[in-house]
Amino acid sequence: MFRLGLRGVRFNLGRYVATLVAIVTGVAFFAASGFLGARVVSALEGDIDRQFGAVDAAVIADARGDDDAAGDLRIGAAAYARLAALPQTAGIGGELAAGVSFLGADGRVFASRATGRLWIADDALNPVDVAAGAAPAAAGEIAVDRGLAAEHRLAVGDAVTVLTAAGKRAATITGLTRFGDSDGQDLNGTVSIPAAAAFEWLNRGREEYSSVLLRARGSAADLVAAVEPVVPAGFRVQSGEDLRAERRADAAGFGRFLTLALQAFSSLALVVGGFVIYNTFNVIVAQRTRELAVLAAIGATPKQLSRALRSEALVIGLVGSVLGVASGFGLTFGLMAVLSQLGIDLPGAGIRVAPGTVVVSMLFGTLITLVSASLPARRAGRAEPLEALRQADAGVVTVGKARTVLASVLAGAGVVAMLVGPSAAVVGAGALVLFLGVVGLGPVLAVGGGRVLRPVLRVFGLEGALAADNTARNPQRTATTANALLIGVFLVTFVTVAGTSAKDFILDEINALSTADFTITSDGGVIDAPLVADLQAVDGVVRVTPFRRETVALTVDGTTRGSTSLSAGDLASLREAAGLDLVAGSYEDLGPGTVVLLQTQLTDGGGVGSTAVVTDAAGRSASLRVVGVVGVSLDAMATGAVVTDATLDDLVGATPPTVAFVTTEPGAQTKAGEAIKAVTDLRPDLSLQAGNFVGRLIGAIFDFLIAAVNGLLLMSVVIALIGIVNTLTLSILERRRELGLLRVVGMVDRRVRRMVRIESVVIATLGTVCGLLLGTFCGFALVTAIGRLSGAGISVSLPVGLLGGILGLGVAMGALASLIPAYRSTRLAVLDALRTT
């Protein structure tokens, strides 16, 4: 039977083109994302192991904080000195990094997202190696990584202007660096700055480190044990092994995330491709009914028949998967180009052909093809041998009563389950059952549709009425054809309705969390008066609210809560700019010795009256009484705990503000945003975040998802079009004699062709309308069910314009599909048509 399958593929290649395209596209995407991910992961992981190989112990921030400031906590100079002085320490190096960029001779900023790093003098501990020239030593000397140098034509000996948090600094490039096999340690370039200048350029002149790397004199375990008692608050010690594992995970996390995200999409592509494959095979089985019947008549068992079809699917699946993996190589470069357009330059070089990726891609592609073809293959197995003996005269086929009843019951049960189902599983099962019911009711709908439309189509004259009769004549076939379209339209509508509703809901929720329009954060610099004035001057900006933010270690009621932000500023304007609503307590009570905490920072049973102990990098600490609790919001994540200026002064001294909320006029956010960005771009230490950026990101992701899924589904709609062409061509072949007779008794060719066109449009409309109704209902019911089951106030958004567009498209496709069959219907001379059997 395999040979028969092979032969079937060879002689039906044209029909299999759509299937092949679907498999190749899906597998290519899947493989490409795998290749890309493997490349990134291995490049990043490999470098980490080599470059941090000499580290025996490390002191790093205890990142258990709940807010986005975790990791900003620093190790002060005194603590660093204590670590260096330990008898077990053979070498020590502190890490410190902040954004820097370069100002070109033409006044343009370049390499604006590079990372400035403190140069670690201990060679073994320094993860960065000098590739050319010499290490930077004196203030005003820097080294840049090879990637930056190549991209911006920098060379050893060049004089450059570096933009830092401290302002413009003149520097000379003394060397080029590399990080293992990669160019830079950081995604957008590494600039190495010697200790003589680093603290001034990167950290407001304070000698602090974000983490410390240590080499052991003697055993590594002894060093870790010795370091333990001198670790500052908010930090912990870990072994070199743990550090490498963590950094590997950090670095590779990006690659893994990339792989996962891309592969989620490509899996979706493959699954949707499954529908395309299903449709194609269905059409192929319908077209080869006679051939299958002959095989059945001369003794092929049902098993052998479906095996023949399955072996065709196996061949197509394998061929498609091989082609797909091959195209995946090419696509990898395409993906890299797209990502670099988005500003993501991937580390590593060349493509890593991971055998795992190749095998999984091939398996996945082949499996999806086999699964999609299994239902059509079973249908092939049920081929009736009598079909082979039947004369080619199209009789009238009736619909079985039992089937109608069963399908109606299924559809009804599905509707009920979706509307009142008590759990997600029941609602989901309801959708499936309803779908099966409607597909099963197809023939009934075909008959009903024909009957309903007959009086309407009567206006086209006799051919209209005949066309309506013809659709009801072999309802099973009409239904199979229309179902292909129905499935595509159903999925498009369903995804659109449910997706749009979910998107709108989530956007509303997220927008409610944030009221500040922009947040500007300085990494190592300050938000000074001139900057505030510049921002105020921007058209559309209503208010700039700078505030001071420090990172501290937090202990609430004796329980360590990791590091957190501690903010202070003008309370009235802060509350106006940001959504910092209290769920307990009152801002009135905020004064010396008191603090307002985030809801998430509290321990169980804690609340107003609890005691919070905060400790800064220098080890100064204060015990504060909790007087208020802020509810969860994006703005609250930016401020963290809130105290008065006086309280903060007592703890860390009179530090300048480093963060600002910017409020813009309603509707001016986009325009003002560009002007604000122009201001902040001149200061590399500043980062700008739109307040609702999360919402916008999620909105964009949803839009992309909906568009991507629909794009893929459109492919299945096109396959449905091919199905209509096939069915009409078949039925015209069968009715040659009948058509000849109509022409003999005086129906002119133009009217015969019109009859075929009307029939085609009727089939297409049936499929489209049913798909639209079913998809809209399922989307509606699903969204309502989510609202009902989760208690969320989600409502249904109907994209009416899009739905109208789908309907128009369906009808137009019907007209398009009829072109070839209509032409063929009158191609034969009248007498020949009568003579053929």
Binding site: M1, R3, L4, R7, G8, R10, F11, N12, R290, E291, V294, L295, A296, A297, I298, G299, A300, T301, P302, K303, Q304, P385, L386, A388, L389, Q391, A392, T837
Partner: protein
């Protein structure tokens, strides 16, 4: 001479379509036995049930009541797969529309029943069939490259290749011109005479019926007459009486 053994037949066979007032009796209690080693033709006007009778005995369709049998096997108790295996291993078919698989060569089409059964052909038997039907130089061609007569020869060869107990033919010459039709009927006749093949043929053509050993006449689902050693003239005469 001893009465020949029945190769296949039916007992009280009934086949009805529709229900209530609109019920149609395609077969109305037919009892028949097709003798082994003979060539039997079934004739009758359109709607007489002649094709239905053949299809039910050949395991292509099921009776509403009564029994059909092939050799010692009653078809009533067989499921779909068992029927398929019976057709594959014990029966051969020739259709009016040739019904070849368009993707396979003539040779592959002929060998198809053996391929389905996973058996290898007997080279001598295969060669003798090909010689008899005269297809020697066309074996590598596909059906699309063959004339109607050549395609029907392939179909005849396919029906014979597995040495079936019975060959069922449904209007085998219906789509052929009279000269090619006569050749095909000649092969069938010689298979009966030389190899003792059993053949049951449905036809409405008196010329085709004249090649048979006996003709059964059906009307309204019943056997109304049987004619041994038919000639074209006698068959025509008998058929004229249907209209009377």
């Amino acid at each position: 001479m001893e009465a020949p053994r029945a190769a296949a037949g039916a007992v009280e066979a009934r086949k009805t379509y529709g229900a209530g007032d609109a019920v149609v009796h395609a077969l109305d209690g037919v009892t028949v036995a097709f003798p082994a080693g003979r060539f039997t033709a079934i004739m009758g006007p359109s709607g007489s049930g002649k094709s239905t009778l053949m299809q039910c005995v050949a395991g292509l369709d099921r009776l509403t009541s009564g029994h059909a049998y092939v050799g010692e096997t009653y078809l009533t108790n067989l499921n779909k797969t068992q029927l398929a295996l019976l057709r594959r291993d014990r029966l051969g078919f020739i259709f009016q529309q040739y019904n070849l698989i368009p993707t396979l060569t003539a040779k592959e089409n002929i060998l198809l029943p053996l391929t389905l059964a996973g058996r290898s052909p007997d080279p001598e038997w295969f060669a003798s069939i090909v010689r008899t039907v005269g297809l020697g130089d066309r074996l590598a061609n596909r059906p699309g490259q063959l004339s109607g007569g050549q395609q029907q020869r392939v179909a005849v060869a396919r029906a014979l290749v597995s040495r079936p107990e019975i060959v069922f033919a449904d209007e085998p010459t219906g789509a052929l011109d009279s000269r090619t039709g006569s050749e095909i009927l000649g092969f069938m006749r010689s298979m009966v005479d030389e190899a003792g093949q059993t053949i049951v043929m449905v036809t409405h053509d008196p010329h085709a019926a004249s090649y048979a050993d006996a003709v059964l006449f059906l009307a309204d689902g019943r056997i109304i007459d049987e004619m041994p050693d038919p000639t074209v003239e006698r068959v025509l005469d008998r058929m004229k009486r249907f209209e009377a």
